[in-house]
Symmetry: C2
Subunit: 370 residues, 2 copies
DNA sequence: ATTTATAATGAAAACGAATGCAAAATCAGG
DNA sequence: CCTGATTTTGCATTCGTTTTCATTATAAAT
């Protein structure tokens, strides 16, 4: 089932060594080991054994006399010693590294989450390896391998959903995996994200209450991305429940601008004269949407009301402000990372699915109409 | 000179071990080594020695017979082997890790640079450890230590300028350090950024040519940040050269909104009736500026023209668009990272100072006036 | 067939830190 | 000063690789 991908593509990175002879002659360039100071040096300087220094390093103060402790500390400061995490990791089976695979690092949502995640890592003495996949499953796969090679202690991922086998394998090696924004129930991982049900229904109801009769929903392709699916489904369900046809759900490919334009044209002519509104499924879509509307000379909210998910920093500045549903992004990052540490600390409870409530922020783009 | 900071604060992260006895009993929780497959297993499965497998891993194909190569490859795939980078790094003195210390990860400028940097890393088989300092020198210092402990092979930094001693020390250990956006000439590191001279002068001239008589320049505090200083200096110089008083250079603290409001009030009343413009020194300032102007009910460009540095995604959408000077951010990231690899590959030429030209993007916020 | 170059291989010693085990030092109480 | 408990300490091994230094197989040249 799992495609056995040739993971050793990675050695393509190495320049081919030209010939055995040259190799032998040691021509290869490498970082010269500048008399790096090691635990041995510290031990020598402090007049104790490596063991003792090691104990100091890992905080086993209870096993050290005050005198020794002081001397080691002094030696370390004097020599400017930095313990080698590679060695520590190799022996101790902990790299103090957490991987974070992000679908699109330039998306403000991602960076906000990242920021929260990073703060927690720092607090715990861990560091973050950040990987950007551009939503490309192949890149994602390569990154999973790389991170595995670095023996990360945990992974926070915004997955494309195309590499479940590899993720499962990672988890089998006792590496906690936490999903952000996008669920994959079959994997049984902790998942953190927005309560899409609540958020969507709140937004839809608000818009209808403002008096709009037709609502379009514009989203990136639903295929495989749970958050997109959940929002779209909730949108359709709410409308249907209220007896309104949910025909205007448009999937657009943001890479081809015409795609969006076409859908817009269709909706706008179809609803000519009606009180109508458009919902953008996330911040990126919203940006494109507004750009497209401006290009067509369509007035917001005069000709059409607009609202969307995510609350980008610029939402208040467009016209009289765009109505949005904000996500607690920083909190999502924090919570996700905390799940990882909980797992590392031995929590074996069943996978948790934590969703945060979205917060409706009403602005000028959705005025009440009669 | 260098303050000897107690680097071993870091072991504060470790839970104190309760007592020697308990410790002896091995109560400590640790990740159980699940029969991880090692190079030895691969060697065994392929019927060769570890040495040979290692050669395969590092791409020394010239030293391998086809038969051996095939067998090793098969063994690796079958066993699902992932080479341990910690061990490789320990022995080979290369971690395949590059550190990136960013002042503010939520700033789109930073993420755009990050994206470029990351792409290069990936291409080279390296990974990126990302650290966010929030412009806090203490955090920066801690991160430098941490990264050093992880034996990063290179560092890309957007420095606060308060930890030069430690950066120099890092560089002494033969770790290439490349500065982004902010120069520190005394350190002698490669530096990549915008050509602030050219960019600023181009912008200022454009605005003057459009017919504006008074220009305000709003920037975050200049203290120690070269890019801010360069832009502000260029602004003042250009005006002075043209015989215009450069009085309206305002440093504002973005954390206190009143700070900006005050300066704005001052400038706007002072120039009542004049043709006037305001330049924001970067994207973040611009956002605050526009927000403040909207709050005061000041029309752009009716009451005041606006332009700024960075070209945030939303710049085209505000009113009839905001005029900006765009930086080639992705390119900056790529170039910076390439400098690191050049250094790693042995380039010992003097420090380079690469600045890219900014590109003036004219939009509706700065119309010609008579 | 014998020498001589060259291509393929392997045994064993690092790399820097953590740790099981055992020994040395210290202490409390007599 | 001695005994037994307890606290401190260190030796030697281990983690998974890379690399040095040989050694063995193969081919080319005589």
């Amino acid at each position: 089932m799992i495609k056995r991908y040739d993971i050793f593509e990675w050695n393509r990175f190495l320049k081919p060594v030209p010939s055995m002879n040259e190799y032998r002659k040691g021509i290869m360039m490498r970082k010269k080991q500048t008399e790096k100071v090691t635990i041995t040096d510290v031990a020598k300087a402090a007049g104790v054994s490596k063991t003792t220094v090691s104990r100091y390093l890992s905080g086993q103060y209870h096993a050290l006399s005050d005198r020794t402790r002081t001397r080691i500390k002094a030696a370390i400061e004097q020599l400017n010693y930095r313990p080698n995490q590679l060695a520590r990791g190799l022996k101790g089976d902990r790299s103090y590294l957490i991987g974070m695979i992000v679908a699109d690092i330039t998306n403000p949502y991602s960076t906000a989450v990242l920021r929260g995640a990073e703060d927690v890592c720092k607090r715990k003495g861990y560091s973050l390896m950040v990987c950007n996949t551009d939503n490309d499953p192949a890149k994602e796969r390569e990154y999973i391998f790389t991170l595995q090679s670095h023996r990360i202690d945990g992974l926070l991922i915004n997955t494309t959903g195309q590499n479940n086998g590899f993720l499962r394998e990672l988890a089998n090696d006792r590496t906690p995996v936490v999903l952000v924004d996008r669920k994959m129930p079959e994997l049984g991982f902790d998942t953190i994200g927005l309560d899409n049900e609540q958020a969507t229904s709140e937004l839809v109801h608000f818009i209808l209450n403002q008096g709009y009769k037709r609502i379009a929903y514009i989203t990136e392709p639903l295929a495989g991305v749970s958050s997109r699916q959940e929002r779209a489904a909730a949108f359709a369900r709410e409308l249907t429940r209220l007896g309104i046809p949910a025909d205007d759900l448009y999937e657009v490919d943001l890479h081809s601008p015409e795609s969006l334009m076409e859908k817009l044209d269709h909706f706008l002519t179809d609803t000519e004269g009606d009180k109508r509104a458009i919902i953008a499924a996330n911040g990126v879509v919203m940006l494109k949407l507004i750009s497209a509307l401006q290009l067509k000379g369509v007035q917001i909210p005069g000709d059409v009301a607009v609202a969307g998910f995510d609350d980008p920093e610029w939402a208040p500045l467009i016209g009289s402000g765009i109505t949005t549903v904000a996500q607690p992004t920083y909190q999502i990052g924090v919570t996700a990372m905390e799940r990882i540490f909980n797992r590392l600390e031995g929590d074996t409870s069943p996978a948790q699915n934590i969703h945060f409530a979205g917060k409706l922020i009403v602005r000028g783009s959705t005025p009440a109409v009669d």
